[in-house]
């Protein structure tokens, strides 16, 4: 009896979760129409940028929060994706169906190489070596004049996407949203599949997993590659967004920003990357409008997040929702 009750409670919970996710997706899809209706078209482009960072941060969160590996070189994959699209465009390849998978694929290869070497180390050394690799790539790109050097490489136009015209900000936003939604859905499946179960257990007790016969490093590497691939896709999108592959995307501060998004949003929470990108970019936008010292204000606000929502914004909101449920 107890078992049956538990099962249906679980079912209700996951049905409610699915309902919330669909509602959020519908609301996000309607956002451009709403913004156009109130004459704030400019924010459609801002919203797309936000979702792209959410995607990159989600990839990093998969590595940090789910795989338990604190990596500080995510910018390498983000930037690599952006440059792939720009370089392909330079050579006349403008179809998104070629350029975006190529960007994700190259980021995956890069993650495979960097991960294979970095995963021989742990902890602080892992942080340092991923940072070092990313900085190497940054210096490589600013020194290559054919690819724009310090100025970066600009795109003549957004990628071609079949009959859809990505030059339209709303259409571009919807495509970005579709990418993010698909990725979140996929990661949710992975979390409950054999692979996700193994990663969670490795995060809890690495040596015990070895003793159950799991080649731990291989699973961690696969996780690292998946996270890097997502950043590559996000990079392809960000290059399309600003029509530029900038070396700033490769800089270590970019890795830092993404890491802060993950920490603020919620390490290991499915929506942590999304919540973090939302919080950080909205705060930045709002504060920059009212004060020139917005960096300081942002820092103070982040301290507030750490004190009041130490497990991240996503977990905090989740807590609010479940408390509401228990009340009624």
């Amino acid at each position: 009896m107890a078992g049956v009750g538990m099962k249906s409670a679980l079912y209700r919970q996951s049905a409610r979760r699915r309902g919330l996710a669909v509602a959020a997706l519908v609301a996000l899809a309607a956002l451009p129409l709403l913004l156009q209706a109130i004459g704030q078209d400019f924010y459609v482009s801002f919203a797309a940028r936000l979702l792209i960072f959410a995607l990159a941060a989600t990839g990093l969160n998969f590595i940090v929060g789910f795989g338990g590996m604190v990596a500080f070189g995510h910018a390498a994959f983000f930037g690599a994706g952006a440059y792939t699209v720009a370089i392909l465009a330079q050579h006349g390849v403008t179809s998104a169906f070629v350029a975006w998978p190529a960007a994700a694929g190259l980021a995956a290869l890069l993650a495979l190489g960097i991960g294979a070497v970095s995963l021989r180390t742990r902890g602080v050394y892992f942080i340092m070596i991923t940072l070092a690799f990313a900085q190497m790539i940054y210096y490589l790109f600013i020194s290559l004049k054919t690819w724009g050097g310090d100025d970066g490489l600009s795109l003549p136009a957004r990628s071609g996407f079949g009959p859809l015209h990505l030059g339209d900000d709303a259409v571009f936003y919807w495509v970005v949203l579709a990418c993010l939604a698909a990725v979140l859905f996929l990661l949710d499946r992975i979390a409950h599949a054999r692979f996700g179960r193994v990663l969670q257990a490795i995060r809890e007790n690495e040596s015990r997993m070895e003793a159950l016969g799991y080649p731990v490093a291989a699973y961690q590497l696969a996780c690292f590659v998946i996270g890097g691939t997502l950043a590559g896709l996000a990079g392809a999108l960000i290059a399309n967004h600003g029509l530029l592959a900038s070396p700033n995307l490769l800089h270590w501060t970019q890795s830092g920003t993404l890491l802060v998004m993950v920490i603020v949003g919620g390490v290991g929470a499915l929506y942590g990357g999304f919540a973090g990108a939302l919080t950080l970019l909205l705060l930045e936008e709002a504060l920059a409008a009212v004060t020139g010292h917005w960096h300081v204000a942002l820092g103070l606000l982040l301290l507030g997040v750490v004190f009041y929502a130490p497990r991240g914004v996503a977990a905090y909101l989740h807590g609010l929702v479940t408390r509401r449920q228990n009340d009624d």
Binding site: I190, R194, F195, A201, E204, R208, E210, A211, L212, P215
Partner: protein, 253 residues
């Protein structure tokens, strides 16, 4: 002479200046229940570490089923059929008892992709879940499937530890003080379990409880200060003068 399932030859291991193991040699034939006894700090756990692959010896070789496994990583040795339990309970404290064992069962799956499967929900895989429940029942944890491992009583966690090792379906099982910290009732249950296991797999059992050792072991080895001072049948070891002196702290005068 035929080669035993486990052949340890001249294995040494030191930590800084401390020689934890000095040229240990031992042959354990398939099917034997072999007890390893010795005072605290004798090097018993250290030997288990070398055999399981948690550490590699400074010198000597370890052969398992005719293969040199001295330098193989732990996960490969598990795949070959060597499993271990820990002296200090080592389970996934935040997962349910069932999920703990399900991980061990899943680790053995060699069907397409093994654990590199990214889509199907694992808790709907009946074969894995059912087998995990079976192992829990085997160690006496039926009814505790949903309990979070960290919330189980100490003795129950020890039983779960055993279930994890068993679920890898080893040919050689290394048990490091499986009864440590258990009450008499739980101990009795584990002794009975080991008795049953001993008919199916080869066992290397480290244990301080002498009653259990003499009841379970086919042969006994005694480790003192990193040296194997004798190996033999229980009745011979019991009366071995050096053992009585070194281990039982008796003066044989």
């Amino acid at each position: 002479m035929t080669e035993g399932l486990l052949e340890i030859a001249g294995v040494s291991r030191h930590f800084g200046g401390l020689r934890a193991l000095s040229e240990v040699s031992l042959s354990v034939p398939e099917g034997e229940v072999h007890a390893l006894i010795g005072p605290n700090g004798a090097g018993k756990t250290t030997l288990i570490h070398q055999l399981s692959g948690a550490q590699t010896p400074d010198a000597g070789t370890i052969r398992f089923a005719g293969e040199d496994v001295t330098r193989l990583p732990m996960h490969t040795r598990v795949a070959r059929g060597i499993a271990r339990s820990w002296q200090v309970t080592n389970v996934f404290t935040r997962l349910s008892a069932l999920d703990n064992v399900a991980l061990a069962v899943q680790g053995r799956q060699r069907d397409w992709g093994g654990s590199f499967r990214f889509w199907a929900a694992v808790d709907k895989e009946r074969a894995i879940v059912d087998e995990a429940a079976m192992w829990l029942a085997e160690v006496g944890l039926a009814g505790r499937e949903r309990s979070i491992a960290g919330s189980l009583a100490h003795g129950e966690q020890r039983q779960l530890e055993l279930a994890l090792a068993l679920a890898t379906r080893p040919r050689l099982l290394l048990l490091d003080e499986p009864m440590a910290g258990m009450g008499p009732e739980e101990s009795e249950r584990v002794v009975e379990l080991i008795e049953r296991l001993g008919r199916k797999v080869t066992l290397l059992l480290v244990e301080h409880d002498m009653d259990a050792v003499f009841r379970l072991a086919d042969r006994i080895s005694v480790l003192v200060g990193g040296r194997l001072i004798c190996t033999g049948l229980p009745d011979d070891v019991r009366v071995h003068p050096e053992v009585r002196k070194a281990y039982l702290g008796e003066d044989v005068a």
